[in-house]
Symmetry: C2
Subunit: 476 residues, 2 copies
C-alpha cells in the first residue's frame, strides 16, 4: 500500500471511527449473535489474490459489527470501563505507523525515554511516593495488563525471597502467596504460572462489612506457613476489587508484610487512577510506606485504550535480576554503558510497542484537570445511581460504593436465596439480551448482586437514568 | 475529543504517517541521540490544563523523532524486520477505535471468531497440519510475542508431564528443558519464569556446520537427566535461529521427544512465515508429525505490525487446563455452554485487543499471492547480497543462508581472532553511527559476524546494493 493509498484509505477509516462514535447508541450494547454466527459468514479459506480495501470496511459493517459488543457505548455498565478516546486512538495510530520496537533503549531511544517520562508523570498525578520514580531506586513501566504486572511482581518477590535461587535452580521449596476471596483471579493464575501452585495460594478472611482483608488472619496464616517450613513470598492487597471495589487495609496488611519480610503487591487495577483526584487519594493509604509493587490500569478508567497497565516498583532491582538475560545479538554500547533503561528486563515479552505515545497524547489533551473531571463526573453519576437504588425499597444496595461501581440487587423477598439468585441472574440476562444496556454480576456472601459500573466519557446522566428506569421496569 | 474533532485530527495523523513513509529515507536509520537527550527536552511535570492536539504532533517532530530508530527505513537491516504496512496499521486503527476487550467470547464475539478464522487461514497458508486447526483438537491464537508463546508452551508442557500437579501443587520436582546455544533467550527466560530455573536448561550440542541441534546429544542428555531423577519437560527446536537462521532437525529431534515423552515446542518466530511459499515449506519438515506447539510471528516478516505472534497447539487441552480459572464475574451463558472459545485461557494476560483485525486486513489486501511475492522478493535480495559477499575475497560468508538473513564478516587476516572481532564490531558501530544503514551482529564459534536481514517492503535492490558498497568502503 503506497503512502498515497494509505492517505486515502486512512481517511476512510478515520471517518468510519468518527461516524461510529457519533452513532454508537444505535447499536445494541451487547452483541446479539449466537456462537458461530460471525465465523459462518467468513470464507473458510484465505484469499488467493489481494482485494480492495473497501471490502474490508464493507465486511466490517456487514459481518463483524453484529458480533461486536460495544465497550464504548454509553449504556455499557458491565465489568469495568475500558475507555477508548480520540487522543488515545491517535497516539496508538502513531505507534502503529512508526512501527518501532522498543525492546532496548538503542532500538528506539524515544520509545524508552517517553515511557520513563509519562510513568513518572503518572506517579506525580496519582500522588505516588517519590521512591517510585525512575530517578530513585524504583521506576514504572507500561505492561499489557494487570495480570502480567502481577506475574512480574511474583517473579520479583521470588527473586528477593530466594536471593536469586529461584531464577537459577527453580522452585525447590514450598512458596506461599496470600490473597482474599475477592482478589482478582490473575493472582492465583500468576501463582500457577510461576510454579508456586494454586494449592499454595492462601485465602485470607475478609471483614464481613468492608470485604477488606483481615490483617490478623493474614499474620496467623503466615505464621502457620512459616512453622510448616514454607516460604511466604507475596501478599496481594487490592484497592478496588473487581467484584465490588472493596479496599484492603493496605497500611495494616503492609505492617504484617514488613514484619514478616513478605513482598506486598498492591493491585489497584481499576481504582488506582481515581487518585488523580486529591479527594480520592485516601484509597492509597499505606502504599507509600509499604508497597513493594503497585499496579493501576490507564486502560480501564483513565481514557487510554487497552493495553496500558502501569506497574511501579519501590525498588526495581529484584525485578530486573529476575528477568534480565543478555544474548549476544542484543548487546549494544548503550546497554553496556549502564546509562539507559532497557524495558525488556521489566516485562514478560521481549518486544514492545511504543505504548507511551497514547498515554502521552491522553495526558496532554486532557491535562490533569480533564482527567480529574472525568473521574469526578463518573463517580458522581454512580453515586446518584446509588441514591436511587437506596430510595427504592424493592432493592438492596451494597455499601460502601465510593467509586464508579455500584452493586445492588432486587430483593425478591418472597423467594429463597437460591431462587432469588436465579431470578437476579435471569433478570440481568434479559436486560442484556435487550441490547439496551449491559450489566454484569458478582456473588457476595452467597447472594448474586448486579454490578453497574459508570466510567465511559460517552455516558451522561440521561443514560444512567434510563438504565435505572429499565431495571426498575424489569423488576416490575 | 468529539467525533468531529477526531475526524479532523485523525486526518492530520494519517497525513503525518503517509508523509513519514513517503520521506522515511531522509532520516538516519538509527537514532543519533545520546542517553537522556529526549527525556531532557520533555517537561518534568505533566500539564495541568489540556493542550491542543497540534502540540502533540509538533513535539513528535521536534523532540521525539530525533530519538526514533526507523524500523521501517529501507536501510534497516538490523535484528529481524518488524514490518508495518498500510493495511496492518489501518486494521490496528480499527481495533483501537472499536476499543473492544475480547477476553471471553461474550465480551465481543467477533473478536474471538475472526481470530479463529485468521489463525486457521494462516495454518492453511503455511501448510501446517490439519490437527492444528481449531475444529480439530488443536488451535491457534494470537500472542503478543514469541516470548509469551514460549511461556505458554512451557506451562502446557508442565501441565501434561505432571498431570496437572504443577498447576495445583507448584513445582515439586526438578524439571529440565532443552535448547541449543542458538535457541532464543526467551526459552531460558521462560524456564526461569515458570520455576524450572536457568540451571535446569540443558544446552544440547549443535552440528558445527549446520548449527542445528544434535538429536543424539539431546537423547543422551534426556537419558542422563532421567537417570538423575529429573523430569524432562520441554525441548525447543528452532526453525531459523535469531543468530543465523539455523534450522534444527525437527524430524530427528521430534523422534527423540516422542520416544521420551517430552513436549516439542517449535520456535519459528522469524522463519515460519516463509512457508507461505511452497518452495520454502521444507523448513517445517517434521512439524506436522512431531510438534506439540509451534510459533511464528506475523509481526516480523509478514507485513503485520507488532504485536501479532501466532501460536498453535497440536492439542489445546494441556494449555487450557494450565491457564483456565473462572471467577464468578466472568461466568456467562456462552462460556457455560462450552460452544465458544474464550481466548483468555490461551494466554498470559486476561484482557486482549482485537488483534485479528490487522492480520485479516493484511491477508485480504495482499492475498496469498502478495505475501508470497514479499517473501520471495526479500529472500531474492538477500541471496543476491550473499553472492556479492561470496565474490569478494576480503569477506567470509556464513553458509547456509536460505532465507532473508546473511551473516558475514570482513576477514582482517592480519589480525588475531580477538582483534578481528573488535575491528568487526567497531566497523559495525561506525556504519550504524553514520545513520546510512543499520546492521547488528552475532557470535558464532568465537567469531563476530555481521548480520544483514532483508525483509522490509520498503527495501529495494538499490538499498541493498548501496549497503554493500558502504560496507566495502568501510573495510577499505
Amino acid at each position: 500500500m503506497s503512502p498515497e493509498e494509505f492517505r486515502a484509505f486512512g481517511r476512510q477509516v478515520v471517518d468510519w471511527i468518527a461516524d461510529y462514535y457519533a452513532g454508537v447508541e444505535k447499536h445494541p450494547v451487547r452483541s446479539q449473535v449466537r456462537p458461530g454466527e460471525v465465523r459462518s459468514q467468513l470464507p473458510a479459506h484465505p484469499p488467493e489474490q489481494g482485494e480492495p480495501f473497501e471490502r474490508v470496511l464493507s465486511d466490517l459493517d456487514a459481518v463483524l459489527m453484529p458480533g461486536v459488543t460495544h465497550w464504548q457505548h454509553p449504556n455499557f455498565f458491565a465489568y469495568f470501563p475500558a475507555n477508548a478516546t480520540g487522543p488515545s486512538i491517535l497516539g496508538d495510530l502513531l505507534s502503529s505507523g512508526l512501527g518501532v520496537q522498543g525492546m532496548v533503549w538503542a532500538t528506539s531511544p524515544a520509545c524508552t525515554e517517553l515511557e520513563t517520562v509519562v510513568v513518572d508523570w503518572m506517579a506525580e498525578l496519582l500522588g505516588l511516593p517519590e521512591h517510585f520514580r525512575t530517578d530513585a531506586v524504583g521506576g514504572g513501566v507500561i505492561q499489557d495488563s494487570a495480570s502480567s504486572a502481577a506475574l512480574v511482581a511474583c517473579l520479583a518477590a521470588l527473586q528477593r525471597v530466594s536471593d536469586g535461587q529461584v531464577a537459577s535452580r527453580g522452585i525447590t521449596r514450598r512458596h506461599t502467596l496470600y490473597v482474599s476471596a475477592h482478589t482478582h483471579s490473575s493472582l492465583e493464575r500468576a501463582a500457577r504460572m510461576v510454579g508456586i501452585g494454586a494449592d499454595n495460594v492462601r485465602i485470607v478472611d475478609v471483614d464481613p462489612d468492608s470485604l477488606g482483608m483481615d490483617p490478623k488472619h493474614l499474620d496467623a496464616l503466615i505464621a502457620e506457613d512459616l512453622a510448616a517450613g514454607a516460604v511466604p513470598t507475596l501478599v496481594c492487597a487490592t484497592i478496588g476489587t473487581t467484584s465490588t471495589t472493596a479496599i484492603d487495609p493496605v497500611r495494616e496488611v503492609g505492617g504484617v508484610c514488613r514484619a514478616r519480610g513478605v513482598w506486598l503487591h498492591v493491585d489497584a487495577a481499576y481504582a488506582g487512577v481515581a487518585a488523580v483526584c486529591p479527594e480520592l487519594r485516601w484509597i492509597n493509604d499505606g502504599v507509600a510506606e509499604f508497597a513493594d509493587s503497585y499496579c493501576t490500569n490507564a486502560h480501564k478508567w483513565l481514557l487510554t485504550n487497552f493495553d496500558c497497565s502501569l506497574l511501579w516498583m519501590a525498588d526495581r532491582r529484584s525485578m530486573i535480576d529476575a528477568l534480565s538475560i543478555l544474548p549476544e545479538y542484543l548487546r549494544n554500547p548503550a546497554t553496556a554503558s549502564g546509562e539507559v533503561i532497557d524495558y525488556r528486563d521489566w516485562q514478560v515479552p521481549l518486544g514492545r510497542r511504543f505504548r507511551a505515545l497514547k498515554l502521552w497524547s491522553v495526558l496532554r489533551w486532557y491535562g490533569a484537570e480533564g482527567l480529574r473531571e472525568h473521574i469526578r463526573t463518573t463517580v458522581g453519576l454512580a453515586q446518584e445511581f446509588a441514591g436511587w437504588v437506596r430510595d427504592d425499597p424493592r432493592f438492596e444496595l451494597l455499601e460502601p460504593h465510593p467509586l464508579g461501581l455500584v452493586c445492588f440487587r432486587p430483593l425478591f423477598p418472597e423467594l429463597s436465596t437460591g431462587d432469588a439468585n436465579d431470578r437476579v441472574y435471569r433478570l440481568m440476562e434479559s436486560l442484556n439480551e435487550s441490547g439496551e444496556l449491559y450489566l454484569t454480576h458478582t456473588k457476595v456472601g452467597g447472594r448474586t448482586l448486579l454490578r453497574l459500573a459508570v466510567g465511559s466519557p460517552q455516558t451522561e446522566r440521561r443514560h444512567v437514568l434510563a438504565a435505572w428506569k429499565r431495571i426498575q421496569e424489569a423488576v416490575g
